[in-house]
């Protein structure tokens, strides 16, 4: 059984059908890169998997549990699937350490000492143990994004969704974030990431999904997708970005 099963998912915003029947199965430990032009529905798809958007048709299941749009099911789902955003979305009124501790204590009711220990461990994992007491606005973009990753990891998810997590970063900060993601991938974390980092996708990902106009246009291992694009749209897309 696949870890994440996306079946015939459709999503409309008003009259605009953004997802027109998406089918993807993700196996445990897979790293999936989702590429495509802006407006192709990549971010919407990720947001649907985390329940930030409701789907209109089809089904999504994670580790065998169906995604249903009520608070109880959503919470259960979100404990399994973490999400990292383009704009970091750290809580600005809390220190890095408290950012990582908060949801553990509030959602999982982890005792404070235990949550703090976990926070230290996770910040260390992303190379920021010395920034435990720093507020988000005292950190660089790359550091903030790494705290966001630590925050998601502290909930011990079985999969992580990354929504263009390096797109808001200065070029010199991109690598420190990608290095963390690469490490996670090496440790066997299941990842689905919307990305524009083609070299990274080629190096790290097990499969690449090319989305075009709300559909999965091509899907396959990176060597195949990047070296041997079958459709004109993907050829054009790669030609533009390379």
């Amino acid at each position: 059984m696949s870890l994440i099963e996306i079946t015939e998912v459709k999503k409309r915003f008003g009259d605009n059908e953004v997802l027109k029947g998406i089918n993807i199965d993700v196996e445990p430990g897979e790293v999936i890169a989702i590429i495509g032009r802006s407006g192709s529905g990549k971010s919407t798809l990720l947001r649907c998997i985390n329940g930030l958007e409701n789907i209109d048709e089809g089904s999504i299941s994670v580790a065998g549990a169906q995604l249903l749009p009520d608070e109880l099911h959503l919470k259960a789902l979100r404990l399994k699937v973490g999400m990292i955003f383009q704009s970091f979305n750290l809580f600005p009124h809390l220190t890095a350490g408290r950012n990582v501790m908060l949801s553990q204590m509030v959602v999982k009711k982890t005792p404070r000492a235990e949550a703090e220990e976990m926070a230290k461990k996770m910040l260390e994992r992303v190379g920021l143990s010395h920034k435990f007491d720093a507020y988000p606005d005292q950190l660089s973009g790359g550091q903030q994004q790494r705290v966001a990753i630590a925050r998601a990891l502290a909930m011990q998810p079985i999969a992580l969704l990354c929504d263009e997590i390096t797109s808001a970063l200065d070029p010199e900060l991109v690598n420190e974030v990608l290095a963390v993601v690469k490490e996670l991938a090496a440790e066997g974390m299941t990842l689905m990431m919307v990305t524009h980092e083609m070299r990274f996708a080629r190096e790290v990902c097990s499969r690449v999904v090319f989305m075009h106009q709300g559909r999965v246009h091509e899907i396959g291992p990176p060597e195949e997708v990047f070296s041997n694009p079958r459709t004109a749209e993907l050829q054009q897309f790669l030609g533009v970005t390379h």
Binding site: F85, N89, P92
Partner: protein, 219 residues
């Protein structure tokens, strides 16, 4: 024939000013409590609650405070309930303050970036947890300066209660004028006392705004 010294005038006005202060404090705190209640209805999930609060706010912001005072004072009288002026004044001012504070605070809650909701959702927090740990702490910081600023409006609003016969600073001014026939001196003092009450409030609102902004940038 004028037996009143300036000190007599000022002393009487200051004694009455105590009631202005008391009424302001009661209205502001009462309005804050009612306003907080309305805020939770307004940003809560119940559609009915939202509509009720919107309607409430429209009514109180769309009619003069003086009419609200009249309605509180004379309206309940129609039902045979004898409303003392102080009660009508307090009730009207509390409800009026609540309407404005709710709107101010709603703006502050909505000023918190959408990403904060999404991030806390994605971490599995429920609505109340998001509110308590993520949204309100940030909204509170934004809310302090305009809230303190609004208290100035409350102090000045209490002047209107003189018309329904509540003896506060303005009413006392009229009464003292009637006795002394020195309207310019008396109302000059009245204005001065109002200014002494209001200026520290608006000044502290400015200072708080600067401080909290700086704090927000650098912590």
């Amino acid at each position: 024939m004028n037996d009143f010294t300036t000190w007599d005038i000022l002393r009487n006005l200051l004694l009455a000013a105590r009631w202005t202060v008391l009424l302001s404090v009661v209205s502001f705190i009462g309005g804050g409590l009612v306003g907080a209640l309305l805020l939770f209805l307004r940003i809560g999930k119940s559609r009915l609650g939202q509509i009720f609060v919107r309607f409430y706010v429209e009514i109180f912001q769309g009619t003069p405070l003086l009419m609200q005072l009249f309605l509180a004072f004379f309206g309940l009288g129609l039902f045979g309930i004898d409303v003392p002026a102080w009660l009508a004044a307090a009730v009207a001012l509390i409800l009026w303050s609540a309407a404005f504070l709710t709107e101010i605070w709603r703006g502050c809650v909505e000023a918190v970036a959408r990403g904060q909701w999404e991030a806390s959702s994605s971490l599995g927090m429920g609505y109340l947890q998001q509110m308590r740990y993520v949204i309100l702490p940030q909204a509170l910081r934004v809310a302090v300066p305009p809230t303190v600023g609004f208290s100035v409006q409350v102090v000045k609003g209490t002047a209107l209660t003189s018309i329904i016969g509540f003896v506060e600073l303005s009413k006392a001014g009229t009464m003292v004028t009637n006795a002394t026939f020195e309207p310019f001196t008396v109302y000059g003092f009245v204005a001065l006392i109002y200014f002494c009450l209001c200026w520290p409030l608006s000044k502290s609102s400015q200072i708080l705004e600067r401080k909290l902004n700086v704090a927000h940038r650098n912590h």
